[in-house]
């Protein structure tokens, strides 16, 4: 089966600019997650979708971050405006019926 696809692979922006990341989960996986992984740390959950509904977004900085999953398939995560501390790898994962998470290779964001 095809894995979780993410793009872009790398992104460099200046602070206060906006950026968007895209994720296409494994076909048939109803649950989609966005994680933020700062260098040297474990992944931190930003938002979890079940189909196109939000299950948990308690750790999403909603003043600058937004995410959507139209039609319950692919998803976009946006940051506007970006801050220096947003520099991290943004990982998308999907799962099927509570099973293990399948991760994409992530988008490495550098904010200068």
């Amino acid at each position: 089966e095809a894995g979780v696809a993410q793009s872009p692979r790398y992104k460099i922006i200046e602070k206060r600019q906006s950026v968007a990341f895209w994720c296409n989960p494994i076909s048939g996986h109803a649950t989609l997650y966005w994680y933020q992984q700062i260098l040297g740390q474990g992944p931190k959950l930003l938002i979890q979708f079940q189909n196109n509904g939000v299950v948990d977004d308690s750790q999403l900085p909603k003043d600058r971050f937004s995410a959507e999953r139209l039609k319950g398939v692919d998803s976009t995560l946006k940051i506007q405006p970006a801050k220096l501390e947003d520099s991290a790898v943004y990982l998308c994962a999907s799962s099927y019926q509570g099973g293990p998470l399948h991760f994409g290779n992530g988008t490495r964001l550098t904010v200068t």
Binding site: Q41, G98, G104, N105
Partner: protein, 110 residues
């Protein structure tokens, strides 16, 4: 906030030796999972152990779970240079989401 805490933070061993990593957590869980992450890549699922299980094996991997102590261990036997990676435990919390620890960085020297 992160749930699992891995120990040690870093581990360096020779090829052929066994590697043991530990994970402690705070709340009740449905299951606990271990993942591996190679540099610059996403996480790869290794093994899942449910809260009613005490031990599980998969190839050279052995995972134990002690719910009374809220801890788990991952043993990699006969390590290889290709096992060099970061290893994370993740807890599937009851009434909550999946939380990852900060990971153990394993280096296996050839």
């Amino acid at each position: 906030s992160q749930q699992g805490e891995e120990d040690p933070q870093a581990l360096s061993i020779q090829e052929g030796e066994n590697a043991t990593m530990n994970c402690s957590y705070k709340t009740s869980i449905n299951n606990l999972q271990w993942y591996r992450q190679n540099s610059g890549r996403g996480l790869v699922h290794l093994i899942l152990i449910r809260s009613n299980e005490r031990e599980k094996h998969s190839g050279r991997l052995r995972v134990t779970l002690d719910t009374s102590k809220k801890s788990s261990s991952l043993l990699i036997t006969a390590s290889r240079a290709a096992d060099t990676a970061s290893y994370f435990c993740a807890t599937d919390e009851i009434d909550n989401d999946m939380r990852f620890g900060a990971g153990t960085r394993l280096t296996v020297k050839p």
